[in-house]
């Protein structure tokens, strides 16, 4: 170990700035493989002065500036002692495990852009997801986290900026460069496995029949939708169909907008109905002391004739309470 520390491991004592620092990027002599050709295996560094005297609110800004500088430098081609971008081999933290590749994370710029588009421009998260190549769940998560961050900054709470800076400097990131086509961060349209499709089904089908994806869904379960409707971005399929059918670009965009508008309308209708239902069924009474009483109407007859239905109100009789059982979900699954 000491031999390694004195020899090939010596260079790793001072991590490279603006690059991953995985063992896989070095050869047996401790030389950075991707710079071997042009810099004689010397460890080149992008080190920039890290300003520690800044306020924490300013530090995020500093990170963004640094990233911007990095981007411009990368786009500006090779300069003096600049590191070339990592090759796929350099993204392996464990050199012997060739299947483990370090996945990029969203850069601070890209996160800020996602938040801006959703919260300031009022874009649908689905559109933002498709435009920037980030999955819908991640877009939603970024918006939530950004909101919290901004609230904390407004409240003057300290942020863990040094930690964020350290992580961002050590992992590969997906940059955001305005004006250029966005780099796809991850596959956004992956089909999630539906539990109904986990078993084998043998369905005899006559040769003359067109067995479509629609039928395949029905073969698994009567109300299972077809694949192209269950993916996160079914609207992209519609768009692609229009392209294949040779619809004019202007017409295509108009159609896509119309579809989006209809979808938004139904969503709003559903939301309003839900709010109305809550307003009608839930009343809040002031009892005169410090607590309010929230009253909700229910149906006592929903338990059914044997009194054992799950739909009934209240604690059930003669049924064990399984809250300690493995796999019970205890966190709320929906928000009122």
């Amino acid at each position: 170990m000491f031999a390694w520390l004195q020899g090939p491991g010596r260079g790793l004592r001072h991590p490279l700035k603006g690059s991953t620092n995985y063992l896989g990027a070095y050869n047996a002599r401790g030389e950075l493989v991707r710079t071997k050709g042009d810099a004689q295996g010397k460890r080149t560094s992008l080190a920039k002065p890290v300003r520690d005297d800044l306020d924490e609110e300013d530090e995020l800004e500093a990170i963004r500036e640094r990233e911007k500088a990095d981007n411009t430098e990368k786009s500006g081609g090779k300069k003096g002692n600049e590191l070339p971008p990592e090759r796929p081999q350099d993204l392996r933290p464990f050199p012997l495990n060739t299947y483990f590749k370090s996945q990029p994370i969203l850069s601070e710029d890209l996160r800020e852009e996602i938040w801006r588009r959703v919260q300031q421009d009022g874009s649908n998260i689905r559109i933002v997801s498709a435009e920037l190549g980030v999955s819908i769940e991640r877009v939603a998560a970024v918006v939530r986290m950004k909101e919290i961050e901004k609230r904390w900054v407004a409240e003057g709470k300290p942020l863990a900026t040094p930690y964020s800076r350290a992580v961002l400097s050590m992992l590969p990131t997906t940059p955001f460069s305005p004006g250029r086509p966005p780099i796809v961060h991850e596959p956004i349209n992956d089909l999630r496995v539906h539990p109904d499709t986990k078993h084998q089904v043998f369905v005899p089908v006559s040769e003359s029949r067109h067995f479509t994806r629609e039928d395949a869904g029905k073969a698994f379960s009567a109300d299972l939708l077809s694949t192209e409707k269950r993916i996160p971005h079914p609207e992209l399929v519609e768009l692609e169909k229009d392209i294949v059918n040779g619809v004019e670009p202007r017409e295509r965009i108009a159609r896509a907008r119309e579809r989006m508008r209809q979808e938004e309308e139904t969503r709003q209708k559903r939301e309003e109905a839900r709010k109305k239902r809550i307003e009608e069924s839930v009343k809040v009474f002031n009892s005169g002391n410090r607590f309010m009483f929230r009253f909700e109407e229910c149906n006592a007859e929903a338990v059914g004739k044997d009194g054992r239905s799950h739909k009934g109100v209240g604690w059930r009789y003669g049924v064990p309470h399984e809250d300690r059982k493995k796999g019970q979900v205890k966190i709320p699954k929906y928000v009122l």
Partner: protein
Amino acid sequence: MVVRIRLARFGKRNNPFYNIVVAQSKSGRNKKPMEVLGTFDPIPKESPPGERGEPGEKARLVKDIRLDTARTKYWLGVGAQPSEPVWKLLSILGLVERSFREDQLRKQAHEADERHRAYWAAKAAESGSLSTDSTATITKAAPLDPQ
């Protein structure tokens, strides 16, 4: 035997939860009732965000009652007698009149408040220097509604 509308305690230790049930008065507390009318959660919870007025409004502490009012009215109509705690809940919902005892207690509390206020007012007048802090706290405490 009397039919009662009463609470049956479920839930865990330190975490009570009640079914509001219709049962024969002599039957055990948690025995199978004639009917479950609803539930009462006595532990105050923050009201869900969807039910607050303005988007940024602070959550109120609410105790949750779920009840089938139609069935409750039926059982009251055929002579089922609510127990004291259930009477209290039903009176909040306006299904029964407030009990005589509770009316009295409220009246007493109101009178005590008045006396308290009068005492501090007199004291303030006596000393001449009006201590704003104490009067502010007294006027802030909303008196119970005697009606």
